[in-house]
């Protein structure tokens, strides 16, 4: 006996219901963390091992919505980070999984870890249909971006992100009160998380953070507090970043009173055109095969731009007479 196949309408309705249910469940992790419903406090902030020599600064990379844990699995992203580390030998480049305020990888110690491992396997598969199944990871993480962008949940989620980033920094040898600049690089949805974390992170470190959004999908910030500078890198063929901007009314150019537009007018938000780059994949920001008219690969040009922002931040600290804490 075979079961009848559901019609397309039923399937679409089921997909919408599942998406809505996922959205309703999305804030629970951040809310529970904030309210202390999930048990004890995490371990105290201590470095794992002494860092020698002390870096000139830190760059924290927050991956896009395709990620499942702290260390990226995407080959292009890995190559991009390797190049960034090679170009910035005096800077510590660390990765943080931005879509869990409790710092748990989707494939780690979770109730649905087996499901996420299955989805990751589909995502890594070269078969197109399986890849579509792997998109559930993107949807799950996109809802976390919406949580950060939400006026009700955002402040709590962003506190969690800042806590997470600070813990990763301290584990890497960062000393609170250090003048070494912090640059948060958020790719895609990571742009929203980086921007949201800037204010609470500045509250913890005592220094405003620099944020680089790489094709960031993000709302207008709730305030400019704790944000030294935001550089939004955007490719001309990046439909995802364009649709993302259209999604958030505070990003619309004619909403002149929005924080985004006010900071842009002040020069604290800078939009940089990276040329004919796409959001991801071949011809994306991290692709090392496609070339720009000036002969550089997309990845090379992206790294060059981020390196320039980091060097700029270092120069500002030097000009302010900053250095490592004693």
């Amino acid at each position: 006996m075979t079961l009848p196949l559901p019609d397309l309408g039923t399937l679409a309705l089921a997909a919408v219901a599942a998406l809505l249910a996922a959205g309703l469940l999305a804030p629970i992790e951040a809310l529970g963390w904030w309210a202390g419903w999930f048990g004890s406090e995490p371990e105290p902030l201590t470095p794992e091992e002494p860092v020698d020599p002390s870096p000139s600064g830190w760059l924290v990379f927050l991956s896009g919505v395709h990620s499942v844990g702290g260390a990226t699995f995407a080959p292009r992203e890995r190559a991009f980070l390797e190049r960034l580390r090679a170009e910035l030998p005096d800077i510590h480049v660390i990765e943080v999984f931005p879509y869990s305020v409790t710092n748990r990888a989707l494939t780690g110690q979770r109730l649905f870890a087996r499901f996420w491992r299955w989805a990751l396997a589909r995502k890594m598969s070269r078969r197109q249909l399986a890849g579509i199944a792997g998109m559930v990871i993107n949807f799950r993480n996109a809802w976390q971006v919406a949580v950060s962008a939400d006026r009700r949940y955002g402040p709590m989620y962003d506190e969690g992100s800042a806590d997470l980033i600070l813990r990763a920094l301290v584990r890497d040898g960062y000393l609170r009160g250090s003048d070494a600049p912090l640059v948060l690089v958020g790719y895609s949805g990571g742009g929203q998380i980086a921007m949201g974390a800037a204010a609470p992170l500045a509250g913890r470190t005592g220094r405003p953070a620099q944020v680089v959004s790489l094709g960031g999908v993000m709302a207008s910030p709730r305030s400019g507090e704790g944000l030294a500078r935001l550089v939004h890198l955007r490719g001309r063929n990046d439909a995802v970043a364009r649709i993302g901007a259209a999604f958030f009314p505070g990003r619309w150019p004619w909403v002149r009173w929005s924080t985004w537009n006010r900071l842009k007018a002040d020069g604290r938000i800078e939009v940089v055109d990276l040329g004919a780059m796409d959001h991801t994949g071949r011809a994306g920001y991290l692709d090392d095969e496609m070339h720009l008219p000036d002969g550089r690969t997309h990845q090379r040009a992206t790294v060059d731009t981020i390196v320039a922002v980091v060097r700029d931040a270092l120069r500002t600290v030097e000009a302010d007479g900053g250095g490592q804490p004693s």
């Binding site: 809505l20 959205g23 309703l24 999305a26 804030p27 809310l31 904030w34 309210a35 202390g36 419903w37 809802w143 919406a146 949580v147 962008a149 939400d150 006026r151 009700r152 949940y153 402040p155 709590m156």
Partner: protein, 199 residues
């Protein structure tokens, strides 16, 4: 129209027959109370972020939701009373209080989806859409039960709103203040219910 489900479905479709059916149903008030308890719980849950933001413990959270739902149902009852008074005084259409409670309760069926306001980013918009949907259901219900024209229905709803606001800001002040104190005591934190103080 038979059964609670059919009545709720009719109210959600803004079908006037659902409201005339509940108005003539001897169990109308009980059905309306059932709808109000469900919609109250759902609505209050949808507005519960302030409780979590104030780090209310889980048991206080559950109690606060239950209390909030009871207050929601009671406030709808007051609103029904105001609508009944507006219908009788302004339009000379006296209607039994039980009937008014039944239609006003059923008209809150869209609030059964109130919990969906918890959806990140879209929640505020969804909450506003539910408010409009409930208002339209009230208008349809008032027209079907009182025999109002559209303008009369809108006027009566506006008058009922005005009466409840006046009551809350005058003779009802001690009740509002006492309700607030109870909510804060249950939540364990001042202002944890997320409601604004009346000035």
């Amino acid at each position: 129209m038979d059964g609670v489900g059919a009545l709720v479905a009719g109210a959600l479709r803004l079908d006037p027959a659902a409201f005339t059916a509940i108005a003539s149903d001897p169990a109308g008030v009980r059905i309306a109370a059932l709808v109000l308890i469900g919609s109250g719980l759902s609505h209050v849950l949808g507005q519960s972020v302030a409780l979590v933001a104030n780090r209310v413990p889980p048991w206080r959270f559950v109690l606060s939701i239950a209390l909030g739902a009871a207050i929601f149902a009671a406030s709808v009852g007051v609103w029904a009373g105001a609508l009944g008074v507006a219908g009788a005084v302004a339009f000379d259409r006296p209607t039994p209080f039980a009937q008014v409670v039944a239609i006003v309760g059923l008209a809150h069926a869209p609030r059964l989806f109130g919990f969906v306001a918890l959806t990140p980013y879209f929640g505020a918009g969804i909450g506003a859409a539910l408010t409009v949907w409930t208002f339209l259901a009230l208008a349809v219900g008032a027209r079907a039960t009182f025999g109002f024209s559209l303008t009369e229905a809108l006027f009566a709803l506006g008058a009922a709103w005005l009466v409840t606001e006046l009551l809350a800001r005058t003779v009802g002040r001690p009740v509002v203040a006492a309700t607030r104190r109870i909510r804060e005591r249950v939540a364990g934190r001042p202002g944890a219910d997320g409601t604004e103080r009346r000035r």
